[in-house]
């Protein structure tokens, strides 16, 4: 291939090797650990929110020492609650999940699975990570400036986000938020350009597009969506920043009065921000879920020990999702004041995207038919992913139809729905991926027993929290609300809020099992075999540990697709992609 054979023996100092490294594996791990740290941070924010929601305005004197302003007197202030909410959403949706899939898994796996030596542009790849780290730091800094973090939600609807006078946190905090988003966008651009170019250009000999692993199809699809929609977010962010500090009025109409003070802007339109934001915001869901699907499909394909069902169909479905993902954004805006005819169009487009999504689910379920399922921890998490994605996806029928959305919009039905589809199911896929590729990365196995305990508590917790939220939403429970006991029609739902809070604490605590398992296994886990899951994809064929440049003198040659399992020759039941052509070459499964 065109990548220069650098030779794996090149010597580099510690800094070049582990910190400012251009090696895609190191960059991938840096992405992983940064995203993981952000996930812990974002998760802790949600625990604080659950304290307030379960027991509104209760005193927590201990917390005052940690948050002397936000919890002055031990009671959470409304602006601190909204800041937590804004930062939790922003961190989790963008700075964790986007970075975790394309950034961490994409970086580590793409070159290995297609038999490349590195990303097409290694330096750009390194830069992508460092800009990402910078964006995380800028975002977290928003907590420490005058007024605190922004309170306008991760969607930052204008004019709330455009006028500093609209509330605490809306001054410097919102500016930092916008700068962080812009930096993240730039980092993401550098990353996905790399992933697309690498997948298209750097595949090894014999690795045709109909032979790349399903994970690669997922990564490619998500990267294409990213490159189409992230620039729009960047543009919108720059315009909003201009409105805030440059005196322009893209999103602010004339005649606003805040605190009896006339706001001098005129000529803008608040819905313009929503259109631009959701043109990014909805595809963002697919930027997260499509690679998660790819990882889950990859793991399911390994542990059914038979050829996966519908390889080409899945690839086709992802391409369909890429195309449709960009014409459904308006379903976030059914009650926004947008022309109702547009609402009708977006409802139809949204319902149509269930077709490829449902076929993907059916491919995984049907793949199990006639299989010999090995219930390893990664497989449990992958099947958990399928179950949760099905449940979350079905909620989409209520919200994708404009008519039923009227009542459910801005209630916990929406919160439950998107947490199942774009938070819990991707998280399950990510856990599946960690348990699955951990031996490849560290040379050691993770503990299966602890892995199972982690799985059972996680899936029970995920359903307990987010299914219950659906029911609360049907009852009308309002989201973005600091204290829903203010409303009489919501009072009878408060026991559910308490239940959800307890379930959230249990779910969060159970993640300690994972962290413990991860850390102990990293140093003390039993040594892994070269290919412990008996998988066919190329990453398992690389030497251990994998050197810079991945392969020896020549990159491997690929002879078949990656899902030749249950080969009937009496020996092993799998046939790696790079195994020399055998008599079975022409056998079509």
């Amino acid at each position: 291939m065109y990548l220069v054979e650098t030779g794996s023996e090149h010597k580099a100092g510690f800094i070049r090797k582990y910190v400012f490294s251009t090696d895609h594996k190191i960059v991938g791990l840096q992405y992983f650990f940064t995203a993981f740290a952000m996930a812990i941070f974002g998760g802790l924010l949600s625990i604080l929110m659950r304290l307030q929601l379960g027991w509104p305005s209760r005193m927590w004197p201990m917390l005052e020492t940690i948050f002397p302003v936000g919890m002055a007197g031990g009671v959470m202030s409304p602006e601190f609650y909204l800041a937590l909410q804004t930062m939790h959403g922003t961190i989790m949706a963008i700075f964790v999940l986007t970075a975790l899939f394309t950034g961490a898994f994409g970086n580590y796996l793409i070159p290995l699975q297609i038999g490349a030596r590195d990303m097409a542009f290694p330096l750009l790849n390194m830069l992508s990570y460092w800009v990402y780290l910078l964006s995380c730091i800028v975002l977290v800094l928003a907590f420490f400036v005058e007024g605190g973090a922004p309170i306008s939600g991760w969607t930052a609807y204008a004019p709330l986000s455009a006028i500093p006078e609209s509330g605490p946190g809306q001054a410097m905090g919102q500016n930092l938020w916008l700068v962080a988003i812009a930096l993240f966008t730039v980092s993401s651009m550098m990353g996905v350009l790399n992933y697309i170019t690498t997948i298209v250009q750097a595949r090894t000999k014999g690795m045709t597009m109909s032979r790349v692993p399903l994970n690669i199809w997922g990564m490619l699809s998500a990267s294409i969506i990213s490159i189409m929609v992230f620039p729009v977010l960047l543009g919108a962010g720059v315009l909003l920043l201009a409105d805030r500090i440059g005196g322009t009025s893209f999103f602010v109409p004339a005649g606003l009065v805040m605190g009896d003070k006339l706001i001098p802007h005129s000529g803008g339109h608040p819905l313009l921000w929503q259109h631009l934001f959701w043109f990014f915001g909805h595809p963002e869901v697919y930027i997260v879920i499509v690679p998660a699907m790819g990882i889950a499909a990859e793991i399911i394909a390994t542990f059914i020990r038979k050829p996966v069902f519908g390889y080409r169909i899945m690839a086709g479905c992802w391409i369909a999702v890429v195309a449709l993902s960009m014409v459904v954004w308006g379903h976030h805006m059914f009650v926004s004041g947008m022309n109702p005819f547009l609402g009708g169009f977006f409802a139809l487009a949204t319902l149509l995207i269930t077709v490829p999504s449902a076929i993907l689910v059916l491919c995984w379920v049907v793949s199990l038919y006639g299989a010999r399922i090995q219930f390893t921890t990664p497989m449990l998490f992958a099947l958990g992913f399928v179950s949760i994605f099905v449940t979350g996806g079905l909620g989409g029928f209520f919200l994708g139809s404009a008519w039923t959305d009227i009542q459910l919009h801005d209630t916990y039905f929406v919160v439950g729905h998107f947490h199942l589809t774009m938070a819990m199911s991707p998280l399950f896929a990510a856990f599946a991926g960690v348990y699955y590729w951990f031996p490849r990365i560290s040379g050691r196995m993770m503990n299966e027993r602890l892995g199972r305990v982690h799985f059972w508590i996680s899936i029970a917790g995920a359903y307990a929290i987010f299914l219950t939220m659906h029911v609360m939403g049907v009852g009308g429970m309002l989201r973005h609300s600091y204290d829903t006991t203010q409303y009489d029609f919501l009072k009878h739902l408060q026991p559910l809020n308490v239940f959800v809070s307890f379930a959230a604490f249990a779910l969060a605590a159970s993640q300690l099992i994972f962290i413990l398992n991860f850390l102990v296994s990293l140093f003390r886990g039993p040594r892994a075999e070269a290919n412990p899951w008996k998988a066919n994809t190329l990453e398992w064929a690389a030497p251990a540990p994998i050197p810079h440049g991945n392969w020896g003198a020549v990159t491997p040659e690929v002879h078949r697709w990656p899902y030749d399992y249950m080969v009937p020759d009496g020996g092993e039941d799998f046939l790696p992609q790079n195994a020399p052509a055998a008599v079975l070459e022409n056998k079509r499964f």
């Binding site: 038979k306 109702p340 099905v390 209520f398 009542q407």
Partner: protein, 263 residues
């Protein structure tokens, strides 16, 4: 074990959605009947899909778990995958169209013109309260100017405009006549709010710079809550108002008292 969990999940979820204790807020509008009906139909369709898929997943994970001496079966024949995808696509597309047709026919009907003779009321959202303006005898609202807004003139009503002389302003209290269609014109002074009547199945964002009209018909007398459903700032959670749906005579009495009290 996964199978057992999934079966439990199905039972638990079915119970959760069949109980009546936590359900849609009691209904008090005419079009709300159609929203609830479509909601219920969608729940039945998705419920069947939910139970079917989760139980299938459960069954397969028991039936095809790894067992000594039982190899995997390879049953995929060329052409089968394609047929499968086409059939699945057609079925899912059918479900989509059914749900779309069911909901969107009502959606467009609701956005059609209001019946003649419907009362017009202006609703203005501001951080963190609701103002309701009745046009009075002349059926037209007086002009408002943002620069005239003050603590005593929250909407910035222009005193020079004769049309505004008989306008009646009410803050956080909205009264409507039962069984009589009403047109609400929604405006905002500062940021986006959302006018939510949970019992009447009405929700519409209130956007500064826009005047958005919705109409509906209250069907049951009573006192209901009005909530702001769109994040609008730190007091969003307490941006609450009250709706009283009452007979015409009582409504007139209330409006007269309010007008006289305001003079």
């Amino acid at each position: 074990m996964l199978a057992a969990f999934l079966v439990l999940l199905v039972v638990f979820s079915a119970g959760l959605f069949l109980q009546r204790q936590w359900w849609l807020p009691s209904l008090a509008s005419v079009h709300g009947v159609d929203i609830d009906r479509v909601f219920l139909a969608t729940l039945v369709i998705t419920g069947v899909l939910f139970i079917g898929l989760q139980l299938l997943l459960a069954y397969f994970s028991v039936r095809y778990r790894e067992q000594q001496g039982r190899p995997a079966q390879c049953w995929v024949r060329p052409g089968l995958e394609k047929r499968f995808a086409v059939i699945a696509a057609v079925i899912i597309f059918g479900v989509d169209i059914a749900i779309f047709a069911m909901g969107e026919s009502e959606w467009f009907k609701a956005w059609g013109a209001a019946p003649p003779g419907a009362e017009i009321i202006e609703v203005t959202g501001e951080q963190f309260m609701w103002h309701f303006r009745y046009p009075g005898q002349d059926k037209s609202f007086g002009r408002t100017e943002p620069r005239l807004v003050s603590a005593t003139n929250p909407l910035g009503l222009d005193p020079q405009d004769p049309a505004g002389k008989d306008d009646v302003l009410s803050t956080n209290l909205l009264h409507l006549v039962v069984d009589k269609p009403v047109r609400l014109q929604l405006r905002a002074k500062d940021v986006i709010h959302s006018f939510f009547l949970p019992n009447l199945r009405v929700k519409q964002d209130v956007v500064p710079g826009m005047r958005i009209e919705v109409w509906f018909q209250p069907a049951k007398a009573g006192v209901y809550e009005i909530a702001c459903a769109q994040l609008c700032g730190l007091g969003h959670y307490r941006m609450r108002a009250f709706l009283t749906v009452q007979p015409q005579a009582e409504f007139e009495k209330w409006l007269t008292e309010l007008r006289e009290g305001g003079d």
